[in-house]
């Protein structure tokens, strides 16, 4: 019991307290590639702190507008409790994979609802882009995770991770892992797929009318999402090496998260933003790849 509480606290801390550091790390990488000095590593914490201490300007008294930032962060935190981040997931039951996938789609829906309630045309456009992206990218996440589930013959994330560690690679898992890696850039809202925010086109899209603490909650949820998605990807498709010592495993996972996030940032740095139709075309290809992985898994390969 104590162990589970420890892991739960660790997961929450990784998603909440560590996530801004990850963003600071990405900003440092960006600065190096840009030949800039860049902000301090802890800048994202300062930014969040500043946002929380700002006046909250509301464009509408709509309840949806007020609640969605809280729902967004809440769903992400709940998802963090179902995600294995090195150790087993603190909350887990038979079929928790399905719940996790649903939880992970809530932030996107919350962002869309908040944007639509604000009534700004930029937010509307951002919301419609977000919706199109969610509809094309989320299935990839579904399919690839279920591919792993079929291989492990279980929808419990802990079982899937354990099966991956003990059985190693197979064709279907490699293909599914690759598909998820290709979709990761969009799940993390990084270039070339940050179209929903696109500050130079539609001025942060869904967030254009948000300010102060509410904006901070959204931003924090997005940072936390990075930790969850990357951990999920690593635990399902690259679970090793496992030492068996809980603390060491948790730390190894963190190091791996930093490496993957660094790669994501490098991809972001060499790409301009795509247009929505181009992005969707790209993800059609990725979805086909994911389906091929699923087919291989069903054939037992």
């Amino acid at each position: 019991m104590l162990k589970i509480i420890f892991i739960a606290l660790f997961n929450l801390a990784a998603a909440l307290a560590l996530a801004p550091l990850l963003d600071g790390f990405m900003r440092r990488i960006k600065a190096v590639v840009h030949s800039r000095q860049g902000p301090p590593l802890l800048q994202t914490y300062y930014d969040l702190f500043k946002l929380f201490s700002k006046e909250d300007r509301e464009v509408t008294s709509d309840l949806v507008f007020r609640l969605t930032p809280v729902v967004c962060l809440g769903a992400v935190l709940l998802a963090a409790l179902f995600t294995p981040m090195g150790g087993p997931a603190p909350l887990g039951f038979g079929g928790d994979l399905i719940l996790l996938v649903y939880l992970l789609s809530i932030p996107g829906i919350a962002i869309m609802l908040g944007a639509m309630s604000s009534g700004s045309p930029y937010a509307m456009l951002g919301a419609s882009r977000e919706m199109m992206l969610v509809l094309t990218v989320e299935p990839v996440l579904f399919i690839t995770l279920f591919t792993a589930g079929i291989k492990a013959n279980s929808l419990v994330l802990a079982d899937i991770t354990g099966w991956s560690v003990s059985h190693g690679w197979s064709i279907s898992l490699v293909i599914a892992g690759l598909a998820l890696l290709l979709a990761l850039q969009s799940e993390l809202a990084k270039l070339p797929f940050d179209l929903a925010e696109a500050e130079t086109e539609i001025m942060e899209g869904p967030f254009v009318e948000y300010s102060g603490p509410k904006l901070a909650l959204f931003k924090w949820a997005i940072y936390a999402k990075v930790v969850i998605y990357v951990s999920l990807f690593l635990e399902v498709f690259l679970p090793g090496p496992k030492t068996g010592i809980l603390v060491a495993d948790l730390l190894i996972n963190l190091v791996k998260v930093f490496i993957v996030v660094g790669l994501v940032e490098l991809i972001e740095l060499v790409n301009p933003r795509l247009k929505i139709d181009q992005a969707i075309n790209y993800f059609k290809g990725v979805a086909v790849l994911a389906l091929i992985g699923l087919a291989f898994a069903l054939m037992g390969m």
């Binding site: 270039l191 086109e201 539609i202 790409n271 933003r273 139709d277």
Partner: protein
């Protein structure tokens, strides 16, 4: 090829009796036609002889001739010839027949003549206010001679621009008046169905500064270059150079050869910095910040260099009528060569890195297309025209400064999309580096100022200079100690009129890069008074107070007008 004499004969043959005057430079022809002949002659010159309309100038010459004058400046690009067709308008009935139905590119210029002088273009397709602020009273024309330069209009509540009605079943997306990717105020209204743009409307001219009026009423010949330089923060040297050349052409002053070479070197250095700046901004607009940072890093070297040459990173303050103020010494020449070598190597790296980038191509190819025919009708200039296959470059077509002595290649592309406009500018970057090297090689010794330049009154001069963004044109009528009329046509002016055409069938995501791809400089197109506010105390202004402040020109005494 057509010479000035042949052109005169053709015009006389076509129109019967016309009044011809020429200027000393041998490349400018001034023709006065009757008001009823205007459309015929403009049609003949534009459609039969293939000339390009540069701009339209309205002048109040009532103290001299008792008439208003409207001049249409044409360029014969293959023949190094500038033609000015003028009509004299009776102040009692200030109406002319609009030529916009013949030349769409005359649209803004004619509206501007109406706003500033009060000569109505009849049958103009879009007779809305263009240049003047929305709260400016009707029937008050600031460029008339009896109009005081420091006039302040009476207060107006809730002035609104006249906007186009949106088409049915569309919604309006606004780009501007303040938009994160456009650093200056400009108000594009896009009529969209989903993400697709089906129409657009533009309202600009938010930061008028009254520059032309100031030059005509307050400053003298040698102060105007410093004002001209402030028309644009990026191509300032172009404007001061263009003004000086226009006065020199009118007064028949010949600048010394060394001064001409120094002007050429500065113009080309300015082009290098401007194209690097543009490349960075274009990258930023489509989210490619790595390009922004790298190209601005390269540009920074050039800014340090110009600071060593002129004392300023920008706004060099080098030009005077008759020459330049600072020499480029042997030490500096060596320094320029070293910096150019570094810039060339580093730019080459960046260009190689981006020219094969497939995602970049996806964002820029077939975006914002402008056909060669549209480019000719709207009379666009510079890289925008050259990307559409219109082979014009005033450095080659109307050689000025030291360009007649230099070897110059003009890159021309065919598709007219944003990618081709990028390619033109990237090619020009290296052409400019080469030109500076040639100029340094051939630069003669000698004085840098003409001796005792005198400007006689009542003469006219036109000058064009190829700015990084396209061709600039300055038109001067000389007065006693200051220009009687000075008209500036900055390079963005025609390009912006082409943007609605480029918007056709594009998506909202393309809009910023389409606007960006013409390298817009909104302030260049604008001319009235502005207020620079510098308040250190914290105070929240209400809308009424801000309106009050705008109209009285100050905020609690902390501002400087």
């Amino acid at each position: 090829m057509v010479t000035r004499e042949e052109l005169s004969l053709k015009l006389i043959e076509r129109l019967g009796k016309v009044k011809l005057t020429t200027s000393g430079s041998g490349k400018q022809l001034f023709v006065v036609v009757a008001e009823k002949d205007l459309s015929t002659s403009v049609d003949y010159v534009f459609n039969q002889l293939g000339a390009r309309l540069i701009t339209t100038v309205g002048t109040d010459r009532t103290p001299v001739t008792g008439k208003y004058e409207v001049s249409y400046i044409f360029s014969f690009d293959r023949d190094n010839l500038l033609l000015v067709i003028k009509v004299e308008v009776d102040p009692a009935n200030p109406v002319i027949e609009s030529v916009t139905p013949i030349i769409p590119g005359a649209d803004w210029a004619e509206r501007e003549v109406r706003d500033l002088i009060g000569v109505q273009p009849e049958n103009h397709p879009d007779p809305r206010r263009l240049v003047l602020s929305d709260d400016w009273p009707e029937e008050v024309y600031p460029m008339r001679q009896d109009f005081p330069f420091d006039y302040q209009p009476p207060k107006v509540e809730n002035a609104r621009p006249q906007l186009k009605e949106k088409p049915e079943n569309t919604s309006v997306m606004t780009v501007g008046p303040f938009f994160p990717t456009l650093e200056e105020p400009a108000y594009f209204r896009l009529f969209v169905e989903g993400e697709r743009i089906v129409g657009s409307d533009y309202r600009g001219f938010y930061s008028h500064r009254g520059i032309e009026k100031l030059a005509d009423k307050v400053l003298d010949y040698n102060r105007v270059p410093f004002l001209a330089e402030r028309i644009c923060g990026i191509c300032g040297f172009v404007h001061s150079c263009c003004y000086c050349q226009a006065v020199e052409a009118a007064a028949e002053i010949e600048a010394p050869a060394r001064a001409k070479y120094i002007r050429t070197i500065m113009l080309e250095l300015e082009r290098i910095h401007s194209h690097l700046l543009w490349l960075g901004l274009a990258g930023h607009i489509i989210g490619f910040d790595t390009v922004l940072m790298q190209s601005w890093r390269i540009r920074e070297r050039l800014m340090w260099l110009t600071e060593q040459i002129t004392g300023n990173r920008k706004t060099y303050g080098m030009n005077l009528v008759g020459g330049v103020r600072r020499d480029i010494t042997v030490d500096l020449q060596q320094k320029i060569k070293e910096v150019l070598a570094k810039i060339e190597a580093e730019s080459r790296q960046v260009v190689d890195a981006i020219s094969g980038d497939t995602t970049l191509l996806m964002r820029l190819q077939n975006v914002g297309c402008l056909s060669a025919e549209d480019a000719r009708l709207i009379c666009v200039v510079g890289p925008t025209a050259r990307a559409s296959g219109v082979d014009i470059d005033s450095r080659r077509d109307h050689p000025y400064a030291a360009y007649p002595d230099l070897q110059l290649t003009v890159p021309v592309y065919k598709n007219g999309d944003s990618w081709d406009r990028t390619l033109v500018r990237l090619d020009e970057l290296f052409v400019s580096i080469d030109l500076v090297r040639q100029a340094l090689e051939k630069m003669p010794d000698g004085p840098i100022m003409a001796e005792d330049p005198v400007v006689p009154p009542g003469r006219e001069g036109v000058s064009v200079v190829e700015a990084p963004r396209g061709e600039c044109c300055h038109y001067v009528i000389t007065g006693t100690d200051r220009p009687e009329r000075w008209r500036v046509r900055a390079s963005t002016y025609p390009q912006l009129q082409a943007v609605p055409v480029m918007f056709n069938n594009q998506t909202v995501a393309d809009a910023p890069i389409i606007i960006g791809s013409i390298d817009p400089c909104f302030s260049c197109t604008e001319r009235l008074e502005t207020v620079d506010v510098k308040s250190r105390r914290l105070k929240v202004y209400t809308k009424a107070e801000l309106m009050e402040a705008c109209q009285s020109g100050r905020l609690d005494g902390d501002s400087r007008a």
